[in-house]
Amino acid sequence: MFFDAEVLQITLLSLQISALATGISLLIGLPLGTLLALGKFWGRSFLLSIVNTGMGLPPVVVGLFVAMTLWRSGPLGELQLIYTPAAIIIAQTVISAPVVTGLTAAALQTLDPRFRLQLYGLGASRLQMIWALWRESRLPLLAALMAGFGSVISEVGASMMVGGNIRHQTRVLTTAIVLETGKGNFDIAIALGVLLLTITFLVNWALTWIQQRAARR
């Protein structure tokens, strides 16, 4: 089955799901991480420790809770999302959003506070200031993005539970590897593993290239 239409479909689905989940995580994590890094409000460090704990969420636990929510018997059962790619995207977003949020907060907090004062002094608006801070920490922010993507493209527990590993529908590279190993097709399993590593490498290579080009500017 290697290098045929099915492998291509599984690979593209893996990429689409994990890229979308990482993208949504960025939309959540960038503003939330910025708020946690720069905001001054009660309970900020408590929230930050929750986010930091979330960076190590076990995917199977996320899978279990998302599955229980989406099952027909669950609170969101009427949406009929269980065993669809959307369900995997939801679970993967829950896994990667804390990673992106936590690393964004850490990146912004390493900036020299005097830089903010200087920006205020130059008459920057709040939005202009945040934009300048993001530009300034674009290297660690891209690293946050890579870590977020890495945490979901390699994840199997949640995808298996909420996706169901259904052929042509929700089978992704990691769940296909589990299946082929279970069948005793170790050669195919290894080939899929190499494919997964190659894809992860290519994505990170592209992001690192952008990052390092940014570093030189």
Binding site: W71, R72, I82, Y83, M160, G164, N165, I166, R167, H168, Q169, R171, T175, A176, L179, T181, G182, K183, G184, N185, F186
Partner: protein, 280 residues
């Protein structure tokens, strides 16, 4: 801590083996079996008795039948407890197995939603039931993992000349428990072994619709890996386990297993029968 204990245990084992003949030379035995025997809890009952009586430490690896047979072929297991007779015979013929004993059977059943949209409840033949499901294009969840259950499903499709490929026919690629949950959620049909269905019944919105057809028998054999191919295999232990499984004591335990919990046995002992008695 644990490693030290095991080490101490091994030293003790060596010390005792000098003066006792119940401890074997090679006490490590790898049993490759299917998830269905593991999930039912039968091995949790039998393996400790075997370990106690014969001095072996059994490492039970529960995988799909396909992987279990592969493990035998590659010398990664010493003894198998599996349920795919045709594939087992092929492995014996290829010279990878030495002894093969009939142990027990249970049966497969076709389960589905109570309202039975494909009208299979009235059928008695499994092939006819699958035919109805295919012609009405209702949902069916296949294991799709090359397991013993999947092989059985494929053989029934083949017997009625249908290649299942419609929108509602999906492959889960997972174990029986997970596949039953998917079928329940999708209100689709599936083929399952009775033991796994009974064990999960309370979480499922599915009913047994077809049972009792002879082709639905699920027959388990124990098979020793031929030591001629791989010198590191533990043939002595494998044969001891095979003989243990056909012993009167174990056959009696199999007969009663599950009755207290489910009100019916999960497996039926067959050591006194032949394959022909079961129609295979």
């Amino acid at each position: 801590m644990n490693k030290k204990l095991i080490f101490a245990f091994l030293i003790l084992n060596f010390a005792f083996s000098a003066c006792s003949n119940t401890t074997p030379d090679n006490p490590k035995l790898i049993l490759a079996t299917t998830t269905s025997t593991q999930d039912s809890g039968l091995l949790d009952l039998l393996v400790p008795i075997f370990e106690e009586a014969h001095g072996y430490t059994v490492q039970t690896i529960a995988v799909g039948t396909g992987a279990a047979l592969k493990m035998a072929e590659e010398g990664n297991a010493d003894v198998l407890l599996v349920h795919a007779p045709a594939a087992e015979i092929a492995l014996m013929d290829a010279g990878f197995g030495r002894d093969r004993f009939l142990i027990m059977h249970n049966d497969f059943v076709i389960v589905g939603p109570a309202d039975d949209p494909a009208v299979i409840r009235s059928t008695t033949l499994a092939g006819e039931a699958l035919n109805n499901i295919a012609s009405s294009q209702t949902g069916f969840v296949s294991r799709g993992d090359d397991s013993g259950t999947h092989k059985k499903e494929k053989s029934i499709w083949a017997s009625v000349g249908i290649t299942p490929a419609w929108e509602g026919y999906i492959e889960s690629g997972q174990g029986m428990g997970a596949t039953l949950i998917i079928a329940s959620e999708k209100q689709a049909y599936t083929l399952t072994d009775r033991a796994t269905y009974l064990a999960n019944q309370e979480n499922l919105d599915l009913e047994i619709l077809v049972e009792g057809d002879e082709v639905l028998l699920n027959v388990y054999h124990v098979m020793t890996v031929d030591p001629d191919n791989w010198e590191n295999t533990n043939y002595e232990g494998a044969l001891a386990f095979a003989n243990f499984m056909v012993s009167d004591e174990v056959q009696a335990l199999i007969k009663d297993f599950g009755v207290d919990k489910f009100g019916q046995p999960l497996f039926f002992p067959d050591a006194d029968k032949t394959d022909a008695d079961l129609g295979i």
